[in-house]
Subunit: 523 residues, 2 copies
């Protein structure tokens, strides 16, 4: 399974068949006479934050929406792009690999070459670290050939997934200048797109000619707002996970002796869990958003699951499937507060081994109450975006453990008279993340890649490629671009009298809408 | 996802399409004029055990092989079956659910009905417990309709998976007599088929008219011998797991920061791991059979993996995929010995909490050396066949933990200068076990179901349904039956001077052949 970047690799029969699929593009992107049309200037969705954002992004805030259209339609104010000079573009993977990511590069490459065969596409090898180190791979037909419609990010790889510190930003700028890039395309989720917007602003400010474009690629499905309907990878992940969850449901019904606790990827938001629940009909799903909204404690959730187990036992049912979003651990108030303390201590340079002795009395009490395996996981160093290492924290095991104890307690007290509760825990993460992309993700990614070219050809900076009307067939898709700053919000919180800190403007993950139809259907 | 036995259930679109597939059967089983031809009497493969087996199975040992053929071919000594009286047959799932199991019942049902519409098929609800309690579901077209070509065992369920104690055997006999069964079909792996053979002998001895037939259905793929080429479920499990392992390989290549340790189902033998390795090309596989043959200790295996990690680090590679068969824990000599002691103490009625204080000095030292999570798992009560609860023992985590410590040690000593070793552990068990069966498993199971009918119609007892020439297309498959006693072996071992106990005759799991071609190809 080893590969070296850029060397054509051996494919399985299935992978070979995959490479033969030519993704569809909507008519508006066909040919070489795509024109761009601009809407009015944009503002941030939250008016209260608009001022902060406009101050932080003086060069890139308030830019207009862009729409890419066929030249046949006649609209006033349309800027018809006819000149197609050759351009040099760099592309980098940033953030968790999502099925379909390779097709963004393929779409971008094809659009570049269709408009001018002299245009050059450079891939940064090894993610953002490769960008800083100027490690490049020239994208060619041959290089692409074995990555079309394939999963993973292994064409280029990924690493630290951030362009944030002054050193990192300077290194990125140096790379863009040294390589004479007209454009830099950053493929990633909410944090990578926030970084992309910041980079665009910095470049504009410092007169670096490279334009920065973001692409919404994240299996978490949480980069959603008034401009972005869906993210590349989400469709695949939900389909693959739902199939596996359905298998486990079948298994549970066959042996009738286990409760399966399945943790799903998806970061802070529970979109993956919601979509998988709609597709696979498990017995129970715990949504992080619901836990937050109702301020449910670990004890409340344990009681909820235990009550469901007890109710099922009364119907002679001793099996079931419970879905747990990986972000749940940060939604449970007391665990979140504990994690905040631990991360604060990490920030002070205190080693993981010694953190437990520095915790406040209440945090220490909670920490000691938790089983050892989870303590070790909570002590892990936070990720680059300051969140906990969610993929490493086995919340499903913690809940299964607490429910087991609760059922034992009820048995002892005589309030539960059913059979022993047996749980089996699973984490469905990496096996879905590396899977072959669905048709939707193949098409969507490829179209977004095309749009990136048109954004750069129009000389736009600080934009994200967007497609709307995604529920319709590809030929009805609408292609455009929106300034990333228009998707930003500013978080406020109060930590005491007189102190009301304001967060940095950022693209924040969208939560599951507890009043939305999808959530309603799930119950 | 809840269901009640026998009530038609709602299917997904995919499941609905699945029910439309009509499995193929070879020409020899077509129509109503199948004839049986007998070969010479069989003996056990191991002549040394033959005497013990013939003494233990006086009524069912030495029976001839049976072949089912088309009536068109003219062979002397062929007994042409023309009378087709209606018969009553019971069927029970015993052992781990394997994809395709439902099709055995479907094939059996269709063969019964084709030959006499008055024949009756009764399914035992809830596995062997349902057999003992005479909980039946009459199989009808309607009942079957939503289970054709579907995964799982949820049409009937399964439970304790054994018919062994005097009480169990008597209960099974009482059920067969009360329900006036002409035949009892037991669907399962090595232990269930050993039980089936014992039951056949007991029935013959006690003049119970019910004939007992076994079917080789086990995802472990370890019920192989001179008569049995393959087991229902194995093909599916290996395909589904290989796809998931390939996804993880893609993921490893993309982020390049993790070693994935993946534990695979398969019980004592490593067939699943071997087949998956051939299909998915991971970086490393640890075979239980190799560990046994080379008497590798936990320390040896840790060193082996660590050396591979170090060699890869020297090539700047910090990722990889390692496959671990679940049975490995019983192949490592010192862990096996520890498990034997623990199980012995369980047998003496000592509770899990107190076992650690009763261990011998060396076992206690090993036990204390192991991390707490694995200690808890090793203390679990053994399964009904006296083996450890392999699905619950996280050998992959133990190895990842030991390799991590070893790499830290080497770093400290200065012999390893690479980056930190990071492992992520997965157990690929239940998500594959519940999956939709492959075309091969759909066909194979359906054909075996047909053969069960012909075995019973021929009045045979203590046989297993067999198909040979499985590598050819279905129309070339050869159908037959072999006495299960001919597949038995007797294990001998010596525990000290003068003591040389002899095990009970049993169908034993076949190991991976370390001199075989498949193993050779994997390296």
């Amino acid at each position: 399974m080893d590969s070296d970047y850029g060397v054509p690799r051996e494919l399985s029969d299935l992978q070979k068949k995959r490479t033969l699929y030519q993704p569809e593009i909507p008519p508006c992107l066909e040919g070489t006479t795509v024109r761009v049309e601009f809407g009015g200037g944009t503002t941030a969705a939250d008016p209260a934050g608009a001022h902060v954002i406009s101050q932080a992004f003086p060069h890139t805030y308030g830019q207009p929406l862009a729409h890419f259209l066929r030249t046949t339609s006649k609209v006033p104010n349309a800027q018809i792009i006819t000149e197609r000079p050759s351009i040099r573009v760099g592309v980098v993977f940033s953030g968790r690999q999502s099925p379909g990511g390779h097709n963004v590069i393929w779409g971008l490459y094809n659009a570049l070459k269709v408009h001018n065969t002299n245009s050059v596409l450079l891939g940064f090898v090894g993610g953002t670290e490769g960008l800083f180190a100027q490690k490049i791979l020239k994208i060619t037909d041959e290089v692409l050939s074995s990555y079309k419609n394939q999963g993973g990010y292994d064409l280029l790889g990924r690493t630290v997934d951030q362009i944030r510190t002054i050193e990192q930003v300077n290194a990125a700028k140096a790379a863009c200048e040294a390589l004479k890039l007209d454009g830099l395309v950053i493929i990633g989720g909410v944090t990578s797109n926030t970084d992309a917007a910041q980079l665009a602003e910095t470049f504009a400010e410092s007169k670096c000619p490279t334009k920065v474009v973001g692409v919404p690629v994240t299996l978490n499905g949480d980069l959603r707002n008034q401009f972005v309907e869906a993210n590349v990878g989400f469709d695949t992940i939900c389909k693959v996970n739902s199939q596996l969850i359905s298998n486990v449901c079948t298994d549970a019904l066959s042996a009738e002796k286990y409760y399966y606790f399945i943790r799903l990827m998806g970061r802070k938001a529970s979109h993956v869990a919601l979509e998988c629940a709609l597709q696979s009909h498990p017995n129970m799903v715990i949504f992080g958003e619901e836990v937050t909204a109702s301020k449910l404690t670990l004890f409340d959730i344990t009681k909820q699951i235990s009550n469901a187990v007890q109710a099922r036992a009364e119907q002679e049912k001793y099996h079931g499937v419970v879905l747990i979003p990986e972000g749940l651990v940060e939604s449970i108030p007391e665990l979140y507060a504990l994690l905040q303390e631990i991360h604060g201590l990490h920030g002070q340079g205190i080693s993981a081994e010694k953190i437990s002795t520095h915790l406040s009395p209440w945090a220490s009490a909670l920490f000691q109450f938790l089983p050892p395996f989870i303590r070790k996981q909570l002590l892990l160093h936070p990720e680059s975006d300051d969140s906990a290492q969610l993929s490493q924290i086995e919340t499903e095991k913690l809940l299964a453990h607490l429910v087991e104890n609760e059922m034992k307690k009820r048995t002892k007290e005589g309030t539960y008279k059913g059979k022993k509760f047996n749980a089996i825990c699973h984490f469905f993460g990496y096996q879905a993340r590396g899977s072959l992309p669905s048709k939707f993700d193949c098409d969507y990614a490829y179209v977004l890649g095309h749009i990136c070219y048109h954004i750069l050809a129009a000389g736009l900076n600080g934009y994200m490629a967007t497609v709307t009307n995604l529920k319709s067939p590809v030929n009805k898709w609408k292609c455009g671009a929106a300034p990333t700053t228009a998707m930003m919000t500013v978080k406020r919180w109060s930590r005491g009298p007189g102190i009301s800190p304001i967060g940095k403007p950022a693209v924040h993950p969208a939560s599951v809408d507890l009043k939305g139809k999808a959530y309603e259907y799930a119950f």
